[in-house]
């Protein structure tokens, strides 16, 4: 087990290293940040000063080595635009994105699993068919379009929910969270639901197909034959077996949800990491783009590791490398 974890960590480091090269070279071939950031009134001398101030007068390999040397010491560079450490900038925005993504995943679990169970148990009922049709819509609707429609309907027409932005926050452990205030929850409702839509559909379908696959299986028949109540069979035995793929997918999906928040955050002006990365791409704030991608890579590597670990806990049949 330790060997396995160690090997995975080494792999992760190589992945990270490879990504730094790809990302660093990638962002450095596009556009000219000075051209975008500088005052239009600037003359040629000011242009040269700005190029030097941003460190862009150095050859690419030197910029990369400087970046790498900084990265080793936990410094991913300073934002061209904000002149703050890129890492700090991102971590300031991270709570907003995390609470949005966590809420979206929770919504997916809370709504998706019960709906999926029902749809799986009664696949040919009207409800079962409606749930499937609804889940197809959940996949098929372009999320940005749904977001815009939400704003049109619930904020502009009905006036029930605030249209955009993040609500009042409360600081807990030094981090501002908005899900603890009524205003914050009101602001979060639409973006979180928008972000959850695809996940709800996904969980619903996973649960449904899990139920359909498990119901005809021997252990269910045995359990029934033993005289267990149908509720107990479904909620204890079947659900337990279904949870494995659901947990895996949700774990992996959490990363995608954080990434897909880019779209939701743009639509709802949610001040999270996703909006930051879009803004940074638009002004070619290279250090922030690189730092964001590095954080995402790190997050994915970690999530994959955790999911693999959870796998062993949830399913005793899975034995990870070396144990045999």
């Amino acid at each position: 087990m330790t060997v396995w974890i160690f090997r995975r960590l080494i792999q992760a480091v190589f992945v990270m290293l490879a990504m730094t090269v790809i990302v660093f070279v990638g962002v450095n071939v596009i556009g000219d940040p000075v051209e975008i950031l500088i005052s239009p009134d600037a003359d040629q001398a000011e242009r040269i000063r700005a190029i030097a101030a941003l460190g862009l007068d150095k050859p690419l390999w030197e910029q990369y080595l400087r970046f790498l040397w900084g990265a080793v010491r936990g410094d991913l560079g300073r934002s061209f635009v904000f002149n703050e450490p890129a890492l700090q900038l991102i971590s300031q925005r991270m709570p907003a994105t995390l609470e949005l993504a966590v809420t979206a995943v929770l919504l997916a679990v809370v709504l998706g699993i019960p709906l999926g169970l029902l749809a799986g148990l009664y696949p040919h009922s009207l409800f079962g068919r409606l749930a499937m049709a609804g889940s197809i819509l959940g996949f098929s609707l372009p999320s940005f379009w749904v977001g815009l429609m939400f704003i049109m309907i619930f904020a502009v027409q009905l006036g029930w929910l605030p249209s955009t932005g993040r609500g009042a926050t409360v600081t807990v452990f030094g981090i501002p969270w908005s899900f603890l205030t009524r205003d914050g929850l009101a602001h979060m409702a639409m973006p979180a639901f928008n972000l959850a839509l695809g996940n709800i559909a996904l969980v619903l379908r996973l649960t449904r197909s899990g139920v359909r696959e498990n119901m005809p299986m021997d252990y269910v028949r045995f359990a029934r034959a033993k005289g267990l109540s149908p509720q107990r069979v479904v909620f204890v035995h079947v659900l337990k077996n279904i949870m494995i793929p659901v947990v895996t997918v949700l774990g992996l999906q959490f990363g995608s949800t954080v990434a897909f928040a880019v779209v939701t955050e743009s639509v709802f002006a949610w001040p999270g990491m996703g909006k930051l990365i879009i803004d940074s791409i638009n002004v070619l704030d290279r250090p922030v783009i690189v730092a964001y991608l590095m954080m995402i890579v790190l997050m994915f590597v970690t999530i994959n590791l955790i999911v693999d670990l959870l796998y062993t806990v949830l399913d005793p049949r899975v034995r990870i490398g070396g144990a045999e």
């Binding site: 704003i151 249209s163 955009t164 009042a168 409360v170 002004v283």
Partner: protein, 522 residues
């Protein structure tokens, strides 16, 4: 432990949003990049800084210089300006504002670390300063520089108490955010919001709002929706597509004025043979650059139906123009009317220039920079095609567009120019003067237009100290530039704001959105 977690939680649940008649929530379309007033020459920063800081000279809504921290100014000798400072001005920390603070500010501006766009372009003409008395300062320039007062409208004064090398982090966290302006910054969350609180010791007119919250909502639709939903009371850059609808909405009022932003086309003049993307009518290579022929340039300008663009694409939120500045602004040429739309005359000019069958060209433009930029280039593509200049349109994102445009990779391309100085020398020097790194003139002459006669006229005009006489000289230069079609002006944008009904706003030509300009309707 539990209490520490729980107490703020309860406080949060019980808290209600602070809504009162004295509070204003307004939305910017762009996010300030710092609370440091000398960090980045970026419009949202300048708009935000205008609340907390003052400059020696300010601009009125029509962008004419007016007194601010300086009560008056005059040239005492050709290379020396004297500014009389306003007495009794206090900084937010209680310090008096004096000439020493001006000296300190001018020295600090060029030293800001890592600045992506330095305000030193507005202070560099000052070679030395002399404090005559606490409320009089003399600034020496390298020879006559008549535009110094205008340059100083963008230099925000900070107190010398901040000491050597104040860090811009300390402006962001509020420690250094000390100005003389009507509002004091209480919180700054980049990309999200800024909270401002009225400063009661302000020297000027007391603004109406006690608390101002500035939200950043870059998405056009979201900004309008926020206003309609009542989450914000005041928004800037109302999308032109919403103007008609908002105009009829009883919950909302609009304000608008001509801006200082000209939208125009560059034609690539840096080639003797055909520039990139220009070919003959059948795709063959051309041995000459048609854009070097005045008749072709005139034809291309004439083929553009500016009224249609203003009416259909801009939905009325612009005025057609054949010059840099709008009526009422210094440097506007009264008798220079927009080029009339005339397809027949344009075709005739093309034939006369030796292109009876026209030629092929690609018109490039950004699609995320200026109001409706992508639509404007498509519309012009339609119009040029109708005079036989078969036009392809390629609109791309600003980040790739601008660096290619600066390398003369396009032949016909759209740009906008905001004339921050509110007078004609700025566009003449920056846009149509020959590109010259040594003097810093023609710095954004991306079409590489060059006309020695015009260069001479601009230089001569800049040597005129008297404002009226200089304006006349600049107007003559503008005429020459427009007659020679140095660039093809399309229109001057209008700035449009929207606010909840019951509020009145004084619109500004310089696009700045200021809480001070918004009051309850009488």
């Amino acid at each position: 432990m539990a209490r520490r977690v729980f107490a703020p939680l309860m406080a949060g649940l019980l808290a209600t949003s602070p809504v009162s008649a004295q509070s204003l929530v307004m939305a910017f379309s762009g996010s300030p990049t710092s609370a440091d007033p000398h960090y980045h020459t970026f419009s949202p920063n300048i708009a935000l800084d205008s609340h907390s800081y003052n400059t020696l000279v300010d601009m009125d809504p029509k962008s004419r210089p007016i007194a601010s921290l300086a009560e008056s100014w005059r040239l005492v000798s050709p290379d020396t300006w004297e500014f009389k400072l306003r007495p009794g001005v206090k900084f937010h920390n209680g310090d008096d504002f004096t000439a020493e603070d001006v000296v300190y500010t001018l020295a600090r501006v060029p030293t800001v670390l890592n600045s992506p766009g330095s305000f030193s372009i507005y202070t560099k003409s000052v070679v030395s300063s002399e404090v005559v008395d606490p409320h009089t300062i003399r600034l020496k320039t390298n020879g006559l520089y008549p535009l110094l007062p205008i340059d100083l409208t963008l230099v925000f004064m900070i107190p010398r108490r901040l000491g050597p090398n104040p860090l811009n982090e300390d402006f962001n966290n509020g420690r250094n955010a000390i100005g003389t302006g009507p509002y004091r910054m209480t919180s700054y969350k980049p990309g999200d919001r800024v909270e401002l609180e009225r400063f009661d010791g302000f020297w000027g007119k007391k603004p109406h709002w006690a608390n101002v919250s500035v939200r950043m909502i870059p998405n056009d639709g979201a900004r309008t929706a926020s206003l309609l939903a009542g989450d914000v009371q005041f928004i800037e850059f109302v999308p032109t597509s919403d103007v008609a609808r908002l105009g009829t909405d009883k919950r909302v009022a609009l304000s608008q004025t001509d801006s200082l932003r000209l939208v125009f086309l560059w034609l690539n003049r840096s080639h003797q043979v055909a520039p990139p993307f220009v070919t003959g009518p059948n795709g063959e290579a051309l041995t000459t650059n048609p854009l070097n022929d005045l008749r072709v340039r005139k034809a291309l300008s004439m083929a553009i139906n500016r009224n249609a663009i203003v009416e259909r694409v801009m939905e009325g939120a612009a005025i057609p123009s054949n010059q840099f500045l709008a009526p009422g602004v210094s440097g506007h040429v009264a008798d220079l009317a927009p080029v009339p739309f005339d397809i027949a005359a344009a075709r005739a000019l093309l034939a006369e220039a030796g292109y009876p069958k026209g030629f092929r060209i690609t018109l490039h433009g950004p699609n995320d920079r200026y109001v409706n930029d992508g639509k404007i280039v498509q519309a012009i593509g339609q119009m040029w095609t109708r005079i036989g200049v078969e036009t392809k349109v390629d609109a791309m994102t600003w980040t790739t567009y601008i660096s290619r445009a600066s390398k003369q990779e396009f032949s016909a391309f759209l740009l906008g120019w905001g004339i921050s100085s509110g007078e004609a020398s700025n566009p003449l020097r920056a846009l149509v003067h020959t590109y010259d790194a040594a003097s810093g003139w023609g710095s954004v002459n991306r079409g590489r237009y060059s006309n020695p006669q015009l260069d001479g006229m601009i230089k001569a005009a800049m040597a005129v100290a008297d404002d009226k006489m200089r304006e006349a000289a600049l107007i003559d230069a503008e005429r020459v530039a427009m007659e020679d079609v140095a660039l093809i002006p399309i229109h001057i944008q209008k700035n449009i704001w929207a606010m909840r009904a019951g509020l009145t706003h004084t619109p500004r030509a310089d696009e700045r959105t200021l809480a001070m300009d918004l009051i309850p309707a009488p």
